[in-house]
């Protein structure tokens, strides 16, 4: 069920009413409703994959309890490995099996050995990369004795399958979200009202900006041979905007909807395109994933301790893994690697990022150095995102070659220039609103709060009108494929 679908518009009020009016007698009943609603929400795509969520939930719940019961270090390690193998095994089978097999065959063929193989015709279950990481972090935290396991299976089921963030995050830590399932939720007017506002803003980002950018992006990336470098550069720019509005829009909706039910999810984006350098960007982009890799991969590897070679190794490994998390393809590995390479100067010359007061601070006009940093980082992102969006490495290289050809200096070609101009105008307005609201949890958090109700509601009606009037061909959220 997509957030931007009529199905969800029917589903959400029903669950909301049942949650606050029918199942509000006990916490347990409310949690049972959340589990039922979440499984229904997920099953709307493909009910067969519900068994995977249930399996992963049961395994980590049991391992969590078993870890708590034993102090034997060997046994604890064994239990941890069972959780890692099961969760990463699920990912391995459903996401990476064919990739590894194909590359193994290719490697053998280089040495003249032809081995037969059968690829699996399997669909990638929606959200598997998200919920497996969530359950994995639960077990690791218990192993590290940073978390007490829950004894409430229903609460744990609700934590793993909570429908607003089940399929594309934010990847929540048990330390933050699980206690919320184990304590009484009370309805908070301001929280719910703000949740609705954030949901509306998320829908606007997704349906007006991301989906309209997608029309051009799909065409330019689908037929890149037919376009000039200048056109393809605009295509890459549109994709950079699309992926941000798509994913951060999803996160806004997830967080907003959760607030309607009395839950607070983690912030997943902090205006990443206003970052002055790549380090700052990765602290602001998909925060729940980057912090997951930081805590469970980067720091255990040694993080930024040790000599420079050691730090460089850790950084490269971290980014390659982040890239590979996105999908089983070389293009994602290259995407991660390029990000790592762009990061290295910060390690080699030990540049301390001075971003603390940049986009976080509340000044209207950026300083010259700030502006240069933002433009430089954004330009890098526009170009490196070509690897993310192109169907494969070959196309990405060909796409970039065209961008860096003489045709970069020609007039861009658009099948529908008016639509392109409308998209540009929206991006401009959107960027301005984001810049003005860059110190908030989301751009319009405080926008209009001091206005008279008529004006404030008028603004919301304008957003709703734009959503209906400008919404293009409905697109699935990009991160659903991961």
């Amino acid at each position: 069920m997509l957030f931007n679908s009529l199905d969800f518009a029917v589903f959400l009020p029903i669950v909301f009413i049942l949650y606050w009016f029918v199942c509000n007698k006990t916490l347990r009943i409310q949690n049972v409703l959340i589990v039922a609603a979440s499984y229904f929400f997920y099953g709307w795509w493909d009910w067969r994959f519900l068994s995977l969520i249930f399996f992963s939930t049961t395994v980590d719940y049991s391992i969590g309890l078993a870890l708590h019961k034993t102090e034997n270090p060997f046994k604890r390690k064994q239990l941890l490995w069972v959780s890692i193998v099961v969760n990463l095994g699920l990912l391995g089978v459903f996401k990476y099996y064919n990739f590894f097999l194909e590359n193994l065959v290719n490697a053998f063929s280089l040495f003249g050995s032809d081995i037969g193989f059968t690829t699996l015709h399997i669909i990638l279950p929606v959200g598997i990369s998200f919920y497996t990481f969530q359950t994995l972090s639960y077990t690791i935290d218990i192993y590290r004795k940073q978390l007490e396991p829950t004894t409430h299976f229903i609460s744990f089921m609700a934590f793993v399958s909570f429908f607003p963030q089940l399929v594309a995050g934010p990847i929540e830590r048990a330390k933050k979200l699980l206690p919320q399932f184990e304590s009484k939720r009370t309805f908070n007017f301001d929280n719910a009202k703000d949740g609705l506002k954030q949901t509306l803003w998320g829908l606007f980002k997704k349906m007006v900006i991301a989906d309209n950018c997608a029309l051009f992006v799909d065409e330019f990336f689908g037929n890149h041979q037919a376009y000039s470098g200048s056109t393809l550069l605009i295509g890459a720019f549109f994709f950079t905007i699309q992926i941000y509005c798509d994913f951060s829009g999803y996160s806004d909706i997830a967080i907003g909807v959760s607030r309607l039910f009395g839950f607070n999810l983690s912030k997943n984006f902090a205006f990443p395109y206003f970052a002055k350098n790549i380090a700052e960007f990765w602290r602001r982009w998909h925060i729940s994933l980057t912090t997951w890799f930081r805590d469970y991969v980067y720091i255990p590897l040694g993080g930024n301790q040790g000599n420079k070679a050691f730090q460089i190794r850790n950084t490269i490994l971290l980014f390659v893994l982040i890239g590979f998390w996105h999908g089983a393809a070389w293009k994602f590995i290259v995407y991660g690697l390029i990000n790592a390479l762009y990061f290295l100067p910060l390690i080699i010359w030990r540049r301390k990022p001075t971003d603390k007061k940049s986009a976080q601070s509340n000044h209207l006009i950026p300083s010259k150095s700030e502006l240069i940093g933002i433009i430089k980082t954004f330009t890098f992102l526009v170009l490196v995102r070509v690897f993310f969006r192109a169907d494969n490495l070959h196309i990405a290289v060909s796409y970039l070659s065209t961008i860096f050809s003489a045709s970069l200096f020609t007039v861009p070609q658009f099948a529908n220039r008016t639509d392109a101009i409308v998209v540009f105008i929206f991006i401009l307005i959107f960027t301005s609103i984001e810049w003005l609201g860059k110190t908030n949890a989301y751009a319009i958090e405080h926008l209009g709060n001091t206005w008279k109700r008529a004006f404030r509601w008028g603004f919301y009606y304008v957003l709703i009108f734009c959503i209906f009037y400008f919404y293009a061909k409905p697109q699935q959220f990009i991160y659903f494929q991961f």
């Binding site: 009529l6 029917v10 007017f189 719910a192 609705l196 009037y469 919404y471």
Partner: protein, 302 residues
């Protein structure tokens, strides 16, 4: 909570009022599905021939040139899964039905309405006909099926400009107004053929299954089935993918051979239809429809 719900409902009132008004007004714009449904209701006892298929049938066969009473239930982008739903429904509701004429075009076995860009058209069946099609919730509403922008244009065109869209005659034949120039016929052929060539054959087996079910159900009811591949312009025919076309042709011939009640009539590449008979590369114009309808009538009355 009460305050929240009260404010929320109050906020939603203008949106709901606007939405309901639009839905009401949109449903009152006359359309071909209503006309066909009305025709069915008033002629239930007399219809002997049911013509089913895509725009090829819609524009290609005019029931007024058929001897027996007929209804053209062809519609733009109608695919074989919908054809099956229609036939399955009316085969039981039309007591005098003797023949079903079904198009078997180049695209028939390789597409389905619900999977393509035209899936919004499912709302026409869900809202205006009694045909039990596989429709999402949104397809039961005009406002959710068609883009808001397009709906505003429809309202403006009908209620403000007082213009009516392209219609069908009472027996369902499409009175298409657009005509392409001869030069366009020559250049469009390759483009349209390419557009109609499927990028995959994922739906082939399922669609062939629908075709078999149609023939079988007709046989059970002692109804004859005439499978037709309508004429198309040379620039289109010459650019068709040979494999896709062969599979279509083979399927038609297989039905003809296997089932006694089924006849396959293929005139895709016929010299009898020159450029003066086409609206575009794969649709007959008024004269073409008259000529082709007479041919079909001669087959039906044999």
């Amino acid at each position: 909570m009460k305050k929240f719900l009260k404010l929320f409902l109050f906020f939603c009132v203008p949106v709901l009022v606007l939405g309901c008004t639009m839905e009401y007004l949109l449903r009152h714009i006359p359309n071909e599905f209503q006309i066909k449904s009305d025709y069915l209701k008033t002629n239930t006892a007399d219809i002997k021939t049911l013509l089913v298929g895509s725009s090829h049938i819609l524009y290609g066969i005019n029931p007024e040139f058929l001897t027996e009473k007929a209804l053209n239930y062809g519609n733009i982008s109608q695919t074989i899964d919908i054809d099956y739903d229609i036939i399955h429904q009316y085969i039981n509701e039309l007591p005098a039905l003797e023949t079903v004429v079904l198009r078997l075009s180049y695209t028939t076995l390789f597409e389905q309405l619900k999977t393509g860009d035209e899936s919004w058209r499912i709302k026409n069946y869900a809202i205006y006909t009694g045909v039990n099609v596989d429709a999402d919730i949104k397809h039961h509403f005009e406002i959710f099926s068609v883009k808001f922008k397009n709906n505003l244009e429809r309202l403006y065109t009908y209620y403000i400009l007082k213009e009516t869209p392209d219609y069908v005659n009472p027996s369902g034949w499409g009175t298409h107004k657009a005509v392409h120039s001869v030069a366009r016929l020559e250049t469009l052929g390759e483009l349209i053929a390419k557009k109609h060539t499927a990028s995959h054959d994922d739906l082939y087996v399922e669609n062939l299954g629908y075709l078999k079910k149609i023939v079988s159900e007709c046989k059970e009811k002692n109804i004859d089935l005439l499978l037709v591949t309508l004429p198309a312009y040379g620039s289109y025919v010459n650019n068709l993918d040979s494999l896709q076309w062969k599979r279509t042709l083979d399927s038609g011939n297989l039905m003809d051979k296997t089932y006694e009640n089924c006849v396959y009539f293929n005139v895709l590449n016929t010299e009898r239809f020159g450029k003066q008979y086409f609206i575009d590369v794969d649709h007959l114009n008024v004269a073409g429809a008259e000529k082709f309808s007479k041919i079909i009538d001669s087959l039906l009355t044999q």
